[in-house]
Chain length 418, copies 2
């Protein structure tokens, strides 16, 4: 069978499963999630054995130790997969819930009912845990899912697919509700991106290269973010101790993730008192600073930032620092260089807090809190399948509700149009 | 200047205007809508003069009388444009509204704030009233808009653009909030569809050919529906008088629109008593019936439908009729042939009403009411910019709220991630 016909068959089967999944109750979906969790625990040895094959191959090719780490399924990885499924099981089921109903003058009663999107395609890189996490979120939200993990995790993902299959079969879930693409060739991705008739949404997760490839080649809507160039703006009359804690946390607590701060903006009237102590703390933590001309005058041993630095997502212990004239200057800088991901203000001023919240065009805007809170779990969504900086549909972290949409339900008693 | 650079300049200018529009209050936006309405009334003679140029050209080419009718700006057309703007002015402004806020254990207060999408591109055919209607909805929802009407309405749209420009200037709205593409060449459409960096959403309005062209060529998300193949299912124990009124209304009241019924499904136990009288009424109204084998046995002078008939959007006085075994048969037929647009059941049975509502995958599902109610105005959204059968973002009629999305607002008091 060709790659094309395999993918086409998977897409058709997924559409068929999606049609059946709308008839499945919350109890059945929850039972399915717990069944997968139980099977994962039971088959731990098999999973680690298959994972070993991927690790041996990866070591042969000589991938980086960071990638090797992401690829490895340890006992703790398995525990967190299983815990994740149980967390999602405990979430409220959004499907079938209805918003407020209103009445039209002719007596029609109208409301929006939440429904699954249908078929979701997930394209991701080395972490095999995505296979399980995405399965949990998609099933809970009533969607069929086609998963395509990285070729370096091929055996791990096939093993997880086999276990998920058994677990779903055991509780009588519709066949092909969850499918893992059994093809290493990248052509499978291109083929999947062509199935606009059967697949409703593509979510790519991984590096900017993968995401750009998906966006360029997809005929299906894509929810994604390319990168997180996040800012903290320290306002004129900010509480400077709070500003220091927030800035330090935003940069240093976990520098390699998308919601870490990349640029610190400081109001000129606060710069002299704020920057020296802040810079000292950053330097002690191993952070390399790159400043604007004014910042460099205050911090004599900091080198000047290049134009390209302001748009960079370092994902590392590097930070650009800019002294701004006022909040307009800060907002304009964010509009120009940020990535609509996460931006924060530290202030005591009521009007400026309100203006910052309204005018900064980011999926999460924070007042007096660290950028690191842009995360489905931290914001109370329960779990997330990713963060979107696409303005349509879902903007920000996406939980189970963001894997659904709404239809209109109209209840009448014989109404016709005049 | 090349077409490409003109469109690129318009897109950049629109992005700039969008940045300013988030700072504009509801009062200012409402003043802008009323200003456009007043200018349209003042410049009625000029608009009709420019419209005349398009009509003369159209007559030379020899377009159909239906198209000529859509192209003509009559006094009543102007009145309905102006009334439309005043209706939109009276709607609630969705921008800046916030949903329920929740508190995290660490004290963070979180809510979703509704924000404009940014820049919207609208691509449409002959009706020049879309220029004004879309302007009203986009401005009310805080979006900048780029409008590209049909080349046959070129002078009319340029005249409307000039008037809108003056009207917005008069009340100090940001420049380039509303732009009409001043290029007849279709290449302008392709160029606009490439501006993914600056344009957030494309809405095509027109025939299926135009919409398919836009979807094929757009790098920007598109909200659209191709067609409306709408069904009415008359259940076993339906009130047959009600079923007849609803079916007749759904087919005959305005057959040329997307929410008109194209296929009537009848439960076999109701067919003998329902179909003869129904068919007689349809035939008297000039409706041509095409039936399945069973329907043809009951209605002796009805010809048999071809396979292609079941998926057809006639937009005309033609109707396919199918006798189904039960509701599953009806739901399966709808899943196979309908267009996710509008489908209705007529029933007295509680369980089947609930199941139909849940399992039929259409943007509007109705119980005991005509399909003709899938319309923003009829459903109480105030006004609509179109109907979406794309499952993402907005599914169904799109009012001002559907031209917005939400961002997360997080209010803290110094919280950092542990």
């Amino acid at each position: 069978m060709t790659i094309n016909s395999t993918i086409q068959e998977m897409a058709t089967a997924a559409r068929d499963a999606a049609g059946k999944l709308v008839r499945i109750s919350t109890n059945q979906k929850n039972a399915a999630l717990l069944s997968i969790a139980a099977y994962l625990e039971k088959e731990a040895a098999f999973i680690k054995e298959e994972n070993r094959k991927d690790l041996v191959k990866a070591e042969e090719i000589g991938i980086s130790s960071a990638m090797l780490d992401r690829l490895t399924i340890k006992d703790t990885t398995l525990i967190s997969m299983v815990d994740g499924l149980r967390d999602v099981e405990a979430l409220k089921d959004p499907v079938g819930t209805m918003g407020p109903a209103w009445i039209r003058p002719n007596g029609l009663q109208i409301a929006r009912m939440r429904i699954p999107l249908g078929v979701i395609g997930i394209i991701y890189e080395s972490r095999p845990n995505v296979t399980v996490d995405a399965t949990g979120l998609c099933l809970k939200s009533g969607n069929a899912v086609i998963l395509r993990g990285g070729s370096e995790a091929f055996h791990s993902n096939q093993a997880l697919a086999a276990i998920i299959d058994q677990a779903l079969d055991h509780v009588g879930m519709p066949q092909n509700s969850v499918q893992v693409v059994p093809i290493r060739d990248r052509e499978a991705v291109s083929m999947l991106l062509n199935q606009e008739e059967f697949v409703d949404l593509i979510i790519p997760r991984g590096g900017e290269g993968l995401i750009r490839f998906v966006v360029e080649n997809s005929k299906i809507p894509v929810l994604k973010h390319y990168k997180g160039v996040c800012h903290v703006y320290v306002d004129a009359d900010a509480d400077l101790d709070m500003a220091q804690e927030i800035s330090f946390n935003a940069k240093v607590q976990r520098p390699g993730v998308c919601n870490a701060m990349e640029t610190l903006l400081v109001h000129h009237s606060a710069a002299e008192s704020f920057l020296p102590a802040m810079a000292k703390r950053f330097t002690e933590a191993g952070v390399e600073l790159r400043g604007c001309a004014k910042a460099c005058r205050i911090l004599s041993d900091v080198k000047e930032a290049q134009e390209s630095d302001w748009a960079a997502e370092y994902l590392d212990l590097i930070l650009t620092v800019k002294v701004v004239e006022d909040m307009d200057d800060a907002i304009n800088h964010i509009a120009r260089y940020a990535s609509n991901h996460t931006d924060a203000i530290v202030t005591r001023d009521y009007d400026r807090a309100r203006r910052f919240v309204r005018e900064v065009d980011s999926s999460v805007v924070l007042v007096n809190a660290s950028t690191r809170f842009n995360d489905g779990g931290q914001l109370g969504l329960g779990a997330e399948i990713g963060i979107s900086t696409s303005k349509l549909h879902a903007f920000g972290p996406m939980g189970v509700e963001e894997l659904t949409t709404t239809k209109f339900v109209v209840l009448g008693s014989g109404q016709i149009r005049e």
